[in-house]
Amino acid sequence: MKSAVLVFPGINRERDMARALKLASGNETAMVWHAETALPKGTDLVVVPGGFSYGDYLRCGAIAARAPVMDAVRDFAAKGGLVLGVCNGFQILCESGLLPGVLMRNAGLKFVCRDVHMKVERSDTPFTRGYNAGQVIRVPVAHGEGNYEADEETLKRLEGDGRVLYRYCSADGVVDEASNFNGAAHSIAGIVNERGNVLGMMPHPENHVEEIMGCTDGRGLFAGLVQQFEKAA
């Protein structure tokens, strides 16, 4: 699997992401500067990492979403290429129109930086095949604007089409108000686009991939993506 990680000014999780991708795939990851107008040839997966692109000025992800490289990402996604956005990356994908909805200020107004649990809703997608449906995984979050909102019609479509892949839950897998720490609609942690090839999620699976991190629950996501390309090849 050949991955490309986008780099915007103010992004700070790109190295963590590249490290997790290399650990899973064995391949070096291409780092792609925001001013580029093309992705490296043979890219299988584009990752928009977390951080604070452009200092979160205007709206989180708003300025990065209009960077030159995003036109190349839109073309790539339109051809069915896999795109993963994490944290600020999720915000950027929403702002760029690749995913519906918006990430609002956390309902409690606080920046939340801790481990949370989320439930894998289905395992038959490139982004979840490394897990079992219903599996509960522990992942870190670090964001002030992760409160996913969309209009009723969009939420209905997301649910109806099974496009909510990850949902906040308690340690034993109960989706309830108490575990929905940022107030997201329907406890949404991660969604895919209509075609299922673009995933945005707030938690950081790339920070739970090695024993030294205290948890390896994030590995499944990367292992699943690698499997996807092994199968294709």
Binding site: R66, V102, R105, N106, G183
Partner: protein, 80 residues
């Protein structure tokens, strides 16, 4: 030419920041505050001298970047 673009949250969109400001004003004892919604103001200078052209440019700026029309409304005013 000077202009102003005002961006506000659509009604029905939860505004936790506005709520926090509302709470602070109430605790300061400012009388008669019913509710607060917060937004953004952009003061923009344009090279254009034609009002219609300026308005078109500002509308494009708001649609493309200044507002997220999923959750926000905007208003464009040419001031002088």
């Amino acid at each position: 030419m000077k202009a102003r673009v005002t961006v506000t949250l659509k009604s029905g969109i939860l505004d936790p920041q506005g709520k926090a400001i509302e709470g602070a004003l109430k605790s300061l004892g400012v009388d008669g505050i019913a509710s607060v919604r917060q937004g953004k103001v952009f003061d923009i200078e344009l090279a254009a001298t034609d009002k219609a052209k300026a308005e078109a440019a500002l509308k494009a700026a708001a649609d493309k970047l200044l507002a997220n029309t999923v959750i926000e409304n905007y208003r464009v005013e040419v001031l002088s």
